[in-house]
C-alpha cells in the first residue's frame, strides 16, 4: 500500500487536464514531499502502458511512446505544417529566444505573415519579450505545450541539439567567421 500523500499526488496528476507544476500539485494534494512522491509514481509506472513524464517544470501522465505503433490513430499529422512552418519552428526551438530578423537570416527569405501566426495558434510558440538592441525587436520562444506535443522532457532533449551546438551551427555566421579567423591567426603565429 502506497502512502496517502503519494496516492493523492497520483490522483491529482491523473485527474488534471494539463501538466502540473510542483506548486499546483501541492495546492491540491496538500503538504508533503512532492518530488519524492513523483519519483515513486514514475518508478511504479516504469515500463508500463502509462508513464509519468516531465515536461519542463510540469508533470503529466501519457501513454508510453513506444506503444505508438499500437495506438496511432491515423497517419495524418495532428497539424500539418508547411515547410516554412517546420523550419521556423525548428529555428525558434533550437535558438530561442530569437528575433524574426534572425529567423529570416537563417532561412535566407522573409517569413510570410501567416507562418508565426500558425505556430502561435498551435500553442507551440510565444512572444518572449524584446531584445534590448536598437529597434527593440520582439523575440520568440517555445511554450510548455511545445514540449508536451513533441514528447520532450526539456529543450535539452531536442534531437541533436548538443551536436549542433558543439559544431557551432547554432551560432550566427558572423561569430563563426570570427572563430575561423582566430584559428587561422593562431596557425600563422
Amino acid at each position: 500500500m502506497t502512502d496517502a500523500f503519494t496516492r493523492a499526488v497520483e490522483a491529482v496528476l491523473f485527474a488534471a487536464d494539463a501538466p502540473l507544476s510542483i506548486e499546483a500539485i501541492r495546492a491540491h494534494a496538500g503538504e508533503g514531499d512532492v518530488r519524492a512522491a513523483l519519483a515513486e509514481i514514475a518508478a511504479h509506472h516504469q515500463g508500463r502502458g502509462i508513464e509519468l513524464v516531465r515536461r519542463g517544470d510540469r508533470w503529466h501522465f501519457q501513454t508510453a511512446a513506444d506503444l505508438a505503433h499500437l495506438l496511432r490513430r491515423d497517419r495524418e499529422e495532428p497539424r500539418k505544417l508547411s515547410r516554412a512552418g517546420v523550419e521556423t519552428l525548428a529555428i525558434i526551438a533550437y535558438h530561442e529566444p530569437v528575433t524574426r530578423a534572425e529567423i529570416e537570416a537563417i532561412r535566407g527569405v522573409q517569413i510570410s505573415k501567416g507562418t508565426l501566426d500558425v505556430l502561435m495558434e498551435a500553442g507551440w510558440v510565444r512572444p518572449a519579450g524584446r531584445r534590448e538592441v536598437p529597434g527593440r525587436p520582439l523575440t520568440y520562444a517555445t511554450t510548455p505545450e511545445f514540449l508536451v506535443h513533441f514528447n520532450l522532457a526539456s529543450r535539452r532533449d531536442l534531437p541533436g541539439i548538443d551536436d549542433l551546438r558543439a559544431a557551432g551551427l547554432l551560432d550566427p555566421v558572423d561569430l563563426a567567421i570570427e572563430r575561423v579567423e582566430v584559428a587561422k591567426d593562431d596557425e600563422d603565429a
Binding site: A84, G160, A176
Partner: protein, 243 residues
C-alpha cells in the same frame, strides 16, 4: 526533384528563396557541405537561372539579386589574389558555405522534430480527465471596533435630533433704536452710520450692530427723527438730526 549530376528540373515555385535553391543545388554535389566547391555551386546556380530565363519563366527579383552577387563572387575568386581587397572573396565564400550549413542543420532538425512521437498521433493523454477545480470562498472579515462603531453610527443616525442655537452676541433692534435716538441729539452734523456703533465692537457683534443700526436709522427717518443722505448706491450712509 530529379537530378543528374549538375542539372535540376526547373520548378521555381518549389523553392523557399535563393538560399533554399542553393542548398538543393549543393546537395547534387553529393559531398559534405564543408567540402563544397563554391565555384561549382555558383556555376550551377547561374546555369539554373539562365535556363529558367531561357524558358521564359518568371524569375523572382531576389533570385536575380543572388545571381548577380554570385557572378561577382565567381570573378573575385578567379582573379589573382589582391591582399588589400575588401571584402576578402575567400571570406565571402566561407560565409555562403556557413549559411548553407545552418539552413541545412535547421531543415534536418525540423524533420527530426516532426518525426518524433507526437501527442495525439503517437502518444495520448486522457480524453476527458475529471479536471481540477479551485472553488473560491469568501472569508468574511470584520472586527469588534467595526461592529460597535457601526452600532454607534446607526444610533446616531436614527436618534431624534435636537437643534440648539448657540448664544451669540447680538445687538437687538430695540437697543439700536435707543442708541441712535440718544446719539443723534448730541451733534447737529452729518455723521457716518458706522460712527454710531459701540467702540470696540468686532466680528459677529459688529455686523449685528451695523445691521440693527441700519434698520433703526430707517425707522428713525420714517418717524421724522433723523435725516439720511447717500451719494450713490453702496456709498457711505450719513445721518443727522432733523434741521
Amino acid at each position: 526533384m530529379t537530378a543528374d549530376a549538375d542539372t535540376l528540373t526547373i520548378d521555381i515555385d518549389g523553392w523557399e528563396g535563393p538560399l533554399d535553391l542553393l542548398l538543393a543545388l549543393a546537395r547534387t554535389q553529393k559531398v559534405d557541405l564543408r567540402e563544397l566547391s563554391i565555384l561549382k555551386l555558383v556555376e550551377q546556380y547561374l546555369a539554373f537561372v539562365d535556363q529558367a530565363q531561357a524558358l521564359k519563366l518568371e524569375v523572382a527579383a531576389d533570385y536575380l539579386v543572388m545571381a548577380a552577387w554570385l557572378a561577382y563572387l565567381k570573378s573575385a575568386l578567379l582573379l589573382p589574389r589582391d591582399p588589400e581587397q575588401e571584402p576578402d572573396p575567400e571570406e565571402l565564400a566561407l560565409r555562403l558555405q556557413l549559411r548553407l550549413e545552418r539552413l541545412s542543420a535547421m531543415r534536418e532538425a525540423g524533420a527530426r522534430l516532426m518525426a518524433r512521437d507526437r501527442l495525439g498521433r503517437d502518444i495520448f493523454v486522457r480524453v476527458a480527465p475529471e479536471g481540477l477545480r479551485t472553488i473560491r470562498k469568501a472569508a468574511w472579515q470584520a472586527d469588534l471596533y467595526d461592529l460597535i462603531a457601526a452600532y454607534g453610527r446607526v444610533n446616531a443616525r436614527t436618534r431624534p435630533v435636537m437643534h440648539i442655537v448657540a448664544n451669540r452676541p447680538v445687538m437687538t433692534l430695540e437697543t439700536a433704536l435707543e442708541r441712535l435716538g440718544d446719539m443723534l441729539g448730541l451733534a447737529p452734523d452729518w455723521r457716518m452710520l458706522q460712527a454710531f456703533l459701540p467702540p470696540g465692537a468686532e466680528g459677529g457683534y459688529r455686523r449685528s450692530a451695523l445691521a440693527s443700526s441700519f434698520v433703526a436709522a430707517l425707522e428713525l427717518a420714517r418717524l421724522g427723527r433723523a435725516e439720511l443722505r447717500q451719494e450713490a448706491p453702496f456709498a457711505p450712509l450719513y445721518l443727522r438730526p432733523p434741521a
